[in-house]
């Protein structure tokens, strides 16, 4: 076998191995999207009931709560960025990071100091490499977040928000919205202070348009609101984590699908090249034999 042909054969073998791996990753991601979507759906009843209850209390009571009170001269804003723990997910993490950098620039223009919180190793790596300050980060659960994870994250953020001194006045959330298998959008939204007018149910209908029964609040409307608002923030963060996880799997599936397709293309063109190299070798051998035979024939004809 000629040297060139051997090189082609080796490359085909290596690309075939890569293709097998990317194909496996694609299938794993495809099965996880379904699970992640199911997790999003399973968390909706809780989120909807909670939204309804928060709105019901807020429309009935006039109490000012720290989590809903707007600070007119806000000077510090926290940004929670949700990225993936692992790569090979196309532009998933990059898009979220870009969105958060754009948001940070916008907040700075408004004269606010930006404090960054990060979920996911990719975001931590990005900020760490560029020596950007990160207030706190959590890793290890981006592809399968639990409510406990959301609670840990939320506890820190609520503590920062309600702190008397050195706290933050606003809390923004940058996550990836799962629209469909093919479309995921990096979005930013302000979580705190909460605008109760804008609270929406999962179907997108504003919750305040509903008519609520005259509830008895126990222990009191304020007490209920006190207990509910942190839960609401947790539930919002939990939902964002779940949606981001679903988006991560979808992005990875798509990236791995195109990697598999590209590997297929590459194998095809390498096979063509290998075939023509083999043919060239055969042709060359034949012409060498023919040439040799002719030379021999000429030589013996000359000697006679």
């Amino acid at each position: 076998m000629g040297a060139q042909l051997r090189v082609y054969k080796r490359r085909i073998r290596s690309v075939t191995a890569t293709k097998k791996i990317t194909k496996a990753m694609e299938m794993i991601s495809a099965s996880r999207i379904v699970k992640a979507q199911r997790a999003v759906a399973a968390s909706t009843p809780y989120a909807d009931e909670l939204t309804r209850a928060v709105t019901a209390v807020a429309t009935r009571s006039t109490a000012k709560h720290p989590l809903t009170t707007e600070n007119p001269n806000a000077s510090r804003a926290a940004v929670l960025l949700i990225t993936a723990d692992r790569g090979l997910a196309g532009g998933y993490s990059t898009n979220a990071i870009k969105q958060s950098l754009a948001l940070a620039a916008r907040l700075r223009e408004e004269g606010k100091e930006v404090v960054t919180y990060i979920v996911g190793r990719k975001g931590v790596g990005y900020y760490g490499f560029r020596n950007l300050a990160v207030a706190n980060s959590w890793t290890g659960f981006s592809d399968k977040p639990t409510y406990r994870d959301a609670k840990t994250v939320a506890a820190d953020l609520i503590a920062a928000f309600t702190a008397e001194t050195g706290g933050v006045d606003e809390l923004h959330l940058v996550s990836t919205e799962f629209v469909s298998m093919l479309t995921q959008n990096a979005i930013d939204a302000r979580l705190l202070p909460l605008k109760l007018d804008e609270v929406e149910l999962s179907d997108g209908a504003p919750a305040k348009n509903q008519i609520f029964p005259l509830y008895d609040f126990e222990p009191s409307a304020e007490g209920v609101l006190d207990a509910l608002l942190p839960r609401y923030v947790e539930s919002r963060i939990y939902n964002a984590l779940l949606q981001s996880a679903a988006s991560e799997h979808a992005a990875r599936r798509r990236a791995m699908k195109s990697a598999t397709d590209n590997a297929g293309e590459l194998i095809k063109s390498l096979t063509r090249l290998a075939n023509s190299a083999r043919q060239a070798e055969i042709t060359q051998e034949i012409s060498e034999i023919v040439g040799g035979a002719n030379a021999l024939a000429d030589a013996s004809a000359g000697s006679e």
Partner: protein, 127 residues
């Protein structure tokens, strides 16, 4: 017989739903029993067992950690961060957790473990 519709929902799943005649839950101001036709109420739950008497004379017991109940239009929603039905509770694990909590003097964890054992034990007593 009058009945009310109950939805027991945890943060990450729907735990139980169905028709019931009375539901007893531990709220911030003490144990509250909700029967059909109760006035609309929204109250904060303590960590404690929730007992649901179903219309077919059965009893569903669940350990609930944090959350609230809202009742309106004969529909009761029990929302909890964590909710476990009695037969889902791993008694051995809860006992271990109780032991750990006692050693570490963590009163919240101790209460949680106690409630789980209580809910699981309540089911056993009826068998």
């Amino acid at each position: 017989m009058a009945e009310l519709h109950v939805e027991l929902v945890a943060a990450d799943r729907k735990v139980w739903s169905g028709a019931a005649t009375i539901v007893v839950a531990r709220t911030a101001s003490g144990d509250t029993g909700i029967m059909p036709g109760h006035t609309p109420v929204l109250s904060v739950l303590e960590t404690g067992p929730v007992t649901i008497r179903t219309t077919d004379q059965g009893t569903v017991v669940a350990a609930v950690h944090g959350g609230f109940i809202s009742f309106a239009d004969n529909k009761l929603s029990i929302l909890a961060e964590i909710a476990e039905l009695a037969d889902e509770i791993d008694v051995a694990r809860a006992e271990r957790a109780l032991e750990n909590a006692k050693n570490e003097a963590d009163s919240h964890a101790e209460r949680r473990a106690e409630v789980r054992l209580l809910a699981a034990g309540g089911l056993k007593a009826q068998h």
